[in-house]
């Protein structure tokens, strides 16, 4: 890549912003995560000693619990979203009418653009005490204030975003699967359902995998959904960071959690790109 003065000039604003607003702050967080926190202060002291305590403390069950909670929600929500979104994406991909396509894609994109807060608030109204909490929890035979119901509402909150984004991601995948292949299977005697299970679905596996990983990463980083719909009972890793910061100003510990969260997110994204690139090689 030849660098000329013009190129450097064009890159300068972007690089400058990055250095100032991402790279240096993150470096600072890494540094902070290794410093000792003395309760009562804000953040670490000026010359606090270095320590691994912030990280080792996280292995304790109390903290590992948060991570597992987040993982559990992530897994359940992502899988559910995929199962629900796949048929929808399929219907859209094979849709003949351009108007219907445009409307459905527009609808999904609109759902994505919707402010998270609006989404969460709307769900709170609908599934909270002023909404259908009593009805639904009654149907499920659980307490409307109980753990199970709260978990359910949080999952709804996640799904409200995950389903549209999965549908759109999978739409891209399914569009690239040749419909003639499933038709060939049907000509050979398979029922439509079977032809999709044995032909179309396996061909979509890389797309499904990447959609899953995208959903999973989004769940891991979820903040507003558990914060408001979880009513303090459901805590994701991101809420832990916020608590560290707002309640006890334990910046070093918050930093350590943040770094771990970042590493997991990066590893998952790396996984996505590997999956996608192997698919390209196979093609």
């Amino acid at each position: 890549m030849q660098k000329s003065r013009g190129t450097l000039l064009l890159l300068l604003p972007g690089l400058g912003l990055f250095l100032a607003l991402l790279v240096l702050p993150l470096a600072n967080v890494v540094e902070e995560s290794f410093r000792l926190f003395v309760p009562g202060r804000i953040g670490s002291a000026k010359d606090a000693p270095y320590t691994l305590f912030n990280y080792t403390e996280l292995i304790e069950p109390a903290y590992a619990f948060y991570l597992l909670e987040t993982f559990r929600f992530g897994l359940v929500s992502s899988l559910t979203a995929l199962v629900i979104a796949f048929p929808i994406a399929y219907a859209m991909a094979r849709q003949g009418s351009p108007l219907l396509r445009k409307l459905s894609i527009g609808f999904l994109i609109g759902m994505l653009f919707l402010s998270t807060l609006v989404r969460v608030y709307a769900l709170q109204l609908t599934f909270g005490p002023t909404g259908y909490a009593r009805l639904i929890s009654g149907l499920l035979n659980v307490s409307p204030n109980g753990r199970f119901y709260t978990d359910l509402v949080v999952t709804f909150g996640l799904l409200h975003y995950l389903i549209p984004i999965s549908a759109i991601t999978l739409l891209g995948t399914i569009q690239n699967v040749n419909p003639k292949l499933a038709e060939a299977a049907q000509v050979l005697g398979a029922s439509r359902l079977k032809s999709h299970f044995t032909i179309t679905l396996p061909l979509c596996i890389p797309g499904l995998l990447s959609a899953f990983l995208i959903c999973f990463t989004l769940c891991l980083s979820a903040f507003v959904v558990p914060m408001i719909l979880g009513k303090g009972k459901v805590l994701f890793v991101s809420n832990l960071i916020y608590a560290r910061f707002s309640e006890i100003a334990n910046y070093p510990s918050g930093s350590a959690v943040a770094i771990i969260m970042l590493v997991i997110a990066l590893m998952t994204i790396y996984g996505v790109t590997r999956v996608v690139s192997t698919r390209v090689i196979q093609d």
Binding site: N28, P87, I109, L193, A265
Partner: protein, 273 residues
Amino acid sequence: MRRLIDNIGTWLGIANILIVLVFLIFPIAVAVMMSFDARDYLGRFPPQAYSIRWYESFFSDAYYLQGLTTSLILAVIATFVSTTAGVSAAIVLDRHTGRSKEVLESLFLSPLVVPAVVIGFALLLFFSLLGVFDGFTRLLGGHIIITFPYTVRTTLAGLVGIRKTLTEAAMALGANERRAFWDVTFPLARTGIVAGAVFAFAFSMDDIAVSLFLTSPDTYTLPVAMVSMMRTNFDLTIAAAAVVLMVFTFLLILALNWAIGLEKLIGQGVFRS
């Protein structure tokens, strides 16, 4: 001849779509309807009578209005800065190939991958370290870094779609690199740039996670105002605020559709039925 299993499959598929539609739309409808609730307290859904009292409350509440104004100003400035920097970066990325280009591209798109909480937290610590305590500056920094990837990505996607032979044709006809860019590349890339700006604006208005960390008592965005109200005074003014935000979203989608058409965002795929 359709088999039973196929029919069941089709019915399940239709049921799935209907349930999802209801699931996605119904809560929004609830929020909209409740925002017009005539009762002066938060009662059970559905409302029996309607009024615009909550909108009056919203638009006369200095706390909310300040949040809205701050959100809008932040969005405008952040979009402008992000778009300028993003377009420049996209131009460079489009012109080159190879390892360093890929690394640079990943770097510029990385804020999409870093959890918002981590960004907010990191910026807060960093600004404190630098001694930057002004709420607006901090919020602006946060909004710029989270909107930047969108401008880069959509502009780059637009640029990639422009055949290289077009700029070469211009050069063979006598235009130097700079003229070729302004005469050929830029007009064709315009839709990508506009789309990027629309995305940036929308995500700046929407942001809550980063803003929560960087807010200060006298400078806050509308979503931050709504969250604090949810904790203190959970009344339906929040519903009115939510609907106002939704209207903004809808207008932005219309703008996006006018600029580039929504199917182009997804593409047609190789096989069209």
